[in-house]
C-alpha cells in the first residue's frame, strides 16, 4: 500500500516521538524520500519541537528562584510544618 501526504501528516507527531510501528515507519520513510513537501513539513514541525525545548526560549522571570527560596526559608522558620507522628 502506498501512503499519501495526508496520511503522513497524521502521523508526523508520532513519527517525531519515534512512536510508530516499524512497518508504518518504513512506509513514511519511503514516502519522504520522494516527497519534498512532506519532508519539509516534517523538518519544520521537528524544528518547532526543538525550538520549544530550548531553555532560552522560555526563561524564568529574573529573580524567580531567589524569591521562591526566600519564601521557603520563611516557611521553614515556622515551628511545625507537619505532624511527625503522622
Amino acid at each position: 500500500m502506498r501512503i499519501d501526504c495526508k496520511h503522513v501528516w497524521q502521523h508526523i507527531s508520532a513519527y517525531i516521538e519515534n512512536d510508530v510501528d516499524p512497518q508504518l515507519r518504513a512506509e513514511i520513510d519511503r514516502h519522504l524520500e520522494t516527497c519534498e513537501i512532506c519532508s519539509a513539513v516534517l523538518d519544520s514541525t521537528r524544528n518547532v519541537v526543538i525550538l520549544m525545548a530550548d531553555d532560552r526560549v522560555f526563561e524564568l522571570p529574573a529573580g524567580y528562584s531567589e524569591r521562591l527560596h526566600a519564601r521557603i526559608d520563611r516557611e521553614l522558620e515556622k515551628p511545625h510544618g507537619w505532624n511527625p507522628d503522622d
Binding site: 501528516w9 513537501i37 519539509a40 519544520s44 518547532v48 526560549v57 524567580y64 528562584s65 521562591l68 507537619w82
Partner: protein
C-alpha cells in the same frame, strides 16, 4: 530539565521529615522550572504564575508527609501545582473548570500544514534574537488550553508522555492526540513566520538529535 532521581528524593523526604528541613530547598529545586511554566500555561500571567508557584511549593512542604511514593515526586508536585492553578483561575475569572476543559479530543484533527519547502533549517544564532522567542511564546499562548498544557509539559519541559498524562489526569492516548494537534497548529502558525530566520544556510537540526 533535570531528570528525576527517586532515591535522592526518598532520602531527602525522610530526612526533612526527621528534622533536616533545609534539605527541602534541594528537593524542590529540580521541579521549580516546571512548576512555573505549568502555571504560566494555565494563568498566562507572570505575576500570578509566580505567586501560585510559591503557594504550591509551600503546600508541597506542608503536605510532604502525605507523599507516599506511588507516583514520581515531580508528578505529585505538578499535580498540586495544577490544582492550585485551577483554583486561582476560578478565583480570578469565576470560570468553571468544565468550561476550561470544554475543548474535547473529538474535535476534528484534520489540518493542512504550512507547506514551505524553503523553511527547513533554523540557524542556532536565531535563538539569540529575542524576537524568535517572542514568536514562539505568542504562538503557544495562543493555543487552546488543553493543547497548551500538553505542549508545555512534553515539549517545553520534556516530561515523558506517561508522566504528562498523570499530571493532567488524562490518558496517554489523549496526550498523544493533543500533542499532535498542538504541534500541527504550531507548525502552521510558525513556519511562515520563522521562514525569515532561515536566511543563514546552516543545517541546524543535524546538530541535535
Amino acid at each position: 530539565m533535570t531528570a528525576p532521581n527517586p532515591e535522592f528524593e526518598a532520602d531527602c523526604i525522610r530526612r526533612i521529615l526527621a528534622g533536616e528541613k533545609h534539605l527541602f530547598h534541594d528537593l524542590i529545586r529540580p521541579c521549580e522550572r516546571s512548576i512555573y511554566f505549568l502555571l504560566f500555561s494555565l494563568l498566562k500571567n507572570e505575576t500570578e504564575a509566580e505567586d501560585v508557584a510559591q503557594e504550591t511549593v509551600i503546600k508541597v512542604y506542608q503536605n510532604l508527609d502525605k507523599f507516599r511514593g506511588e507516583s514520581q515526586f515531580r508528578t505529585w508536585v505538578l499535580s498540586i501545582a495544577r490544582n492550585e492553578g485551577l483554583g486561582r483561575l476560578r478565583k480570578i475569572s469565576n470560570r468553571r473548570e468544565d468550561s476550561l476543559e470544554a475543548d474535547t479530543d473529538e474535535q476534528t484533527g484534520d489540518y493542512t500544514p504550512a507547506i514551505l519547502t524553503s523553511w527547513r533549517e533554523i540557524p542556532a544564532e536565531a535563538l539569540e534574537q529575542k524576537e524568535l522567542g517572542n514568536l514562539l511564546r505568542k504562538a503557544i499562548e495562543g493555543l487552546p488550553e488543553i493543547y497548551r498544557n500538553v505542549v508545555l509539559l512534553r515539549d517545553i519541559e520534556e516530561i515523558d508522555i506517561r508522566e504528562t498524562a498523570a499530571v493532567l489526569k488524562i490518558s496517554e492516548a489523549s496526550v498523544k492526540v493533543r500533542l499532535h494537534r498542538a504541534r500541527a497548529l504550531l507548525q502552521r502558525d510558525l513556519a511562515p513566520q520563522l521562514k525569515g530566520f532561515a536566511s543563514a544556510k546552516r543545517r541546524w537540526f543535524g546538530g541535535r538529535a
